[in-house]
């Protein structure tokens, strides 16, 4: 069987010098963060993460950042690239303007620990506070609980969250009010509130009805724009608000 196929054309790319302007902060040495420029040779298809690895490996080993999977699935490397929150491993050089230095700095709103590393504990504390786990009702069935494909689709979007904090640390409200639960926590709550197998919606809604809950959101959409998983975060927040107003899930 020989199908007639379109063979994709992939250009063989060339490496070019790209300058990165990184906001550095070594707590044991620096009193204040400062900017530093590094130039590395990169292919257009390289990720910003590759550049950081190269800088760390070949130029300055003290450069510190978190990373793990390298392809946008673990949520380790949220940072502000050219002024916007993104994952370094999902941002390709070809999608950036390399005529100017590319700025890289830590996400904001969480305490800065070192270079691109921030303290994630407040972020996870907010996540834990919305009871992000199934609270089923009644007896455990012997087999699986039934759920229709439509019921499953209801909360599909918010199950994709990788807890990278791109959203929460892009939220202008969170920058100034660290007590706000933040979009990521609301996304987590949404994932369970709209799960047909869950019976804890009432409690979670109560929590998000608090002073620092969903009402704090000013629909600025930075979260939706920043989410590397393409979750419609603001929409999820809207659905939670409506569930609270109409007391109906």
């Amino acid at each position: 069987m020989t199908a007639v196929i379109e063979v994709p054309v992939i250009d063989i790319p060339v490496a070019t010098d790209v300058t990165f302007r990184v906001r550095r902060y070594l707590p044991e040495i620096d009193e204040e963060p400062h900017w530093e420029d590094y130039t590395v040779a990169l292919f257009p298809t390289d990720r910003v993460l590759t550049a950081l690895e190269k800088i760390k490996g070949d130029i300055d080993g003290t450069l510190t950042f978190r990373r793990s999977c390298g392809h946008g699935i673990c949520g380790s490397d949220a940072m502000r690239i050219n002024g916007r929150n993104r994952l370094a491993c999902k941002t390709l050089v070809k999608d950036l303007d390399i005529k100017k230095p590319i700025t890289v700095e830590a996400i904001k709103g969480l305490p800065l620990e070192k270079d691109l590393v921030v303290d994630m504990d407040p972020f996870f504390a907010a996540y834990r506070a919305v009871m992000p786990f199934l609270l089923p009702e009644g007896h455990e069935p012997t087999k699986e609980r039934l759920q229709s494909a439509e019921e499953r689709a209801r909360f599909d979007d918010t199950t994709k969250c990788i807890l990278c904090a791109c959203c929460t640390t892009s939220c202008p409200v969170y920058w100034t009010d660290g007590a706000y639960f933040g979009p990521a926590a609301i996304v987590a709550a949404h994932r369970f509130i709209f799960d047909s197998r869950d019976a804890g919606a009432e409690q979670r809604l109560e929590i998000l009805n608090e002073k620092e809950g969903v009402w704090r959101c000013r629909t600025t959409f930075n979260c939706t724009d920043a989410c590397p998983r393409g979750i419609e975060v603001t929409k999820a927040i809207q659905e939670v608000k409506q569930a609270l107003i109409f007391r109906r899930v």
Partner: protein, 135 residues
């Protein structure tokens, strides 16, 4: 303004845990009053600033003419109350956002509420006790 560099939240991550529907109602109020204000305020602006000569024709006599009708009295009264409550509630949010310390936040809100309360009472008084034959 709001987007300058802030590395850590200025007010710490202490949640109040306060449970009531106050924030819900205040949020709803912002939307409902907003919709009503669209009609009231925009018409007000059109009448005052655009129709036959706009602000140029406004004087004591014009006001006197208007407030002789209860319709305009009620119109302006509603507009005053809604706009002030809406604005005050909006300002409350802003104070909540930007005040760094609880102390500051408390006093700013006190000042806000006092000013708003005074203005609402004053405005109400003026509309109700207006006397076209003064002077």
């Amino acid at each position: 303004m709001t987007t300058l560099d802030i590395s850590a939240p200025r007010s710490g991550a202490k949640r109040s845990g306060q449970r009531s529907n106050f924030e819900l109602y205040s949020w709803l109020f912002m939307r409902i009053s907003g919709i009503i204000l669209v009609v009231l305020v925009l018409s007000h602006l059109v009448i005052m600033n655009l129709l036959d000569g706009g602000v140029q024709r406004i004087n004591f006599a014009f006001v006197a003419g208007r407030w002789s009708s209860p319709f305009w009295q009620i119109w302006d009264l509603t507009m005053l109350w809604l706009a002030m409550l809406h604005g005050t509630n909006g300002m409350r949010t802003i104070v909540n956002d930007y005040a760094e310390r609880n102390q500051t936040r408390f006093w700013l809100k006190m000042a806000l509420y006092t000013a708003s309360g005074f203005i609402i009472l004053l405005g109400t008084l003026v509309i109700f006790t207006f006397d076209p034959n003064i002077g």
